[in-house]
Amino acid sequence: MNFLPTSEQLDLQQGVRELLDARFPLEKLPGGFAADVWRSLAETGVFSLRTDLELGLADTVLVFEELGRACVPGPLVGTLLMAGRADGPVTVADAAEQPLLVPHLDVSSSVLLFDGDVARLCAASALSGPVVAEPVDPLTPLHEVVALPAGEVVARGDKVEVLRRDGALLTAALQVGIAARLTDLAVDYAKQREQFGRTIGSFQAVKHICADMFVRTEIARVALHAAAVSCDDESVGAASRAVAGAKLLADEAATVNSRSCVQVHGGMGFTWEVPVHFFLKRAWLHATEFGTADDHAEALAELL
């Protein structure tokens, strides 16, 4: 047993971090979806890790943590899930959802459509509906789609469950990345901001908020990694229980850390200029994707 990432895994993760630090720094974030950044990610193989590079989910979640850490806008999860089947960005819709909101429809070429125990792939142009006027995440445009096209069946039955499970796992990875970045942002601010003649990070009331942010992230991260390893090799543990737990804890880490990070930033945390709110709003979005924390708690309860 060695539950540490291998040096190859760390190199892979570091490579993606460096690419995003260079191509998509925080200053670029308010611009939203960046076609050039998306192209670099695709060319680097971020979306074809499992198909072209034949890597496992354990490797993939490490990369997706970085995408979350940089708050990269775009239909990341659908594009990876449909790698090898579709060209260009792939967004995701679930016919059971009401209202049926589809993110990033305008920049996507296809839609992965979940419909009960069938998953279909259809052209993005085949979906239509009004744009949501005030999306809570300004960097994730939403369409409210009314009618769904047929499309080509890509999975049925158990294979649909695997797609949903992998989607939840990858979304959890994005949330862990967000939770980690929020911890860094809060700690950096707490080290630099002074009040009452002292750095605010020296006050235990602030320090303990930061410590809890770190702990929440670590717990979610090990749950994520254990779940990814279980998906790659079911002999080490029940994958569905592990993924449900990981999404639950990752949603909690990202959403609670969001509030904590705003709080540590004080009044500045309520400004558009400080980028914390973009992470918070993305965390709220992901918390509704591939099952909410409540959905996953129910799924886990079923297994107890």
Partner: protein
């Protein structure tokens, strides 16, 4: 990231399982909770069995009589003994987990050979004389005085939270030898024989009504200078060195136990009738139980990560990860017991099983676990450690 045990690790596990299934049925009945002489006899007899089978001091180095097991084997040992329902370390706790490792790290050869084999065989029981009424989280402010008189130290003071003092043979004792030095620089680590004249032990009744802790009054107790471990006034460093002996396995048995208890709690909730349905039909309660299951699964994964870190750097200082685990585990354990009480309703008013429900152990532990967020570094101290040593935030003041 690999969670599979290697073939050598599986072989170790299978051999241990065989030994446990052959040995556990031969144990005598457990003694009464407050019969300390009987508990000492029971715990040390178990330690002797471990010793004779080659499992004593599982993680101690071979040259000091231990098994020299890898951190992963240590994890497996704790996991398997917990699952099999083997006795806990009990009165051997201080000797095996604290005083022994300190002697290994810092003592002279004479001191080691005087105590280490006896600790491993279960012949010697130790207690810890660290905390004082005015030195809790701020342990380094301790005031028990030791004054040199020829080849003895004469020790006077008041110790608190001394566990198993009534049945211990030796005490690892922290004393102040230089009251004028800065507080961390005037402390010395001594081995105090518990039959020395001048020791008065008063059992301390806990919120459970139990008596494993004592107050210890020391009145001019004469301790040979030869019993000093490390240099005079260097006792704080000696104490801290021992803490690095811990290799990520501190909470293994309790986390394994908690995963089991969450499953048991789900079973109980399905049995409890409440209005016209079961407690399990209560969506809020059910989801909270599931949430705790996710947390304990994660804590188990975190334990494996910590053990993997220890394996990767065998001589390294333990990860500050220990604080993360301690903080989150102890709070989760308390929430688990509160949740059990919610499921049990009025049956939560008894510390023994009542109403045909196996709820007693949850309620007993609901009271007992109050200490977890206080002992061995409060949750607030853990948050300071995480904030300062991991995140690099400045110290207060």
């Amino acid at each position: 990231m690999d969670l599979r045990y290697s073939s050598a690790e599986l072989a170790f596990r299978d051999e241990l399982r065989q030994w446990l299934s052959a040995t556990l049925p031969t144990l005598p009945a457990k003694p009464a909770a407050d019969d300390w002489p009987a508990r000492r006899a029971y715990d040390t007899a178990w330690q002797r069995k471990l010793h004779d089978a080659g499992y004593a001091g599982i993680n101690w180095p071979k040259e000091h009589g231990g098994r020299g097991a890898t951190p992963t084997e240590h994890l497996i040992f704790l996991e398997e003994t917990e699952r099999a329902g083997a006795p806990y370390v009990g009165v051997n706790f201080v000797g095996l987990l604290h005083a022994g490792p300190t002697l290994i790290a810092e003592a002279s050869d004479e001191q080691r050979s005087a105590h280490l084999p006896a600790i491993l065989r279960g012949d010697e029981v130790w207690c810890q004389g660290f905390s004082e009424p005015t030195a809790g989280s701020d342990l380094a402010s301790l005031r028990t005085r030791a004054v040199r008189d020829g080849d003895h130290y004469v020790v006077t003071g008041h110790k608190l939270w001394t566990s198993y003092a009534t049945v211990a043979d030796y005490c690892e004792l922290l004393v102040r030898t230089d009251p004028d030095a800065p507080k961390h620089k005037g402390i010395t680590w001594l081995v105090m024989p518990m039959d020395s004249p001048g020791i008065e032990i008063r059992p301390l009744k806990t919120v459970l009504g139990s008596s494993e802790f004592s107050e210890m009054y020391l009145d001019e107790v004469r301790i040979p200078v030869a019993n000093r471990v490390g240099e005079e006034n260097d006792g704080w460093r000696v104490t801290m060195v021992t803490l690095s002996f811990e290799r990520g396995t501190a909470w293994v048995d309790q986390i394994v136990d908690s995963v089991r208890l969450v499953g048991d709690l789900a079973t109980i909730a399905k049995k409890v009738t409440r209005r016209s349905a079961t407690a399990w039909d209560d969506v809020g309660l059910r989801r909270d139980i599931a949430h705790l299951a996710a947390e304990f699964d994660a804590l188990w994964a975190l334990t494996k990560r910590g053990v993997s870190e220890a394996s990767a750097s065998p001589t390294g200082v333990p990860g500050v990860g220990a604080s993360v685990l301690k903080l989150r585990y102890t709070e989760a354990r308390q929430r688990l017991m509160d949740l059990a009480a919610r499921a049990l309703g009025r049956a939560s008013l008894s510390r023994a099983d009542i109403g045909g429900l196996p709820g007693g152990e949850f309620i007993e532990e609901r009271v007992n676990s109050l200490s977890y967020t206080i002992a061995a570094g409060t949750s607030q101290i853990q948050r300071n450690i995480i904030g300062e040593r991991i995140l690099g935030l400045p110290r207060e003041r």
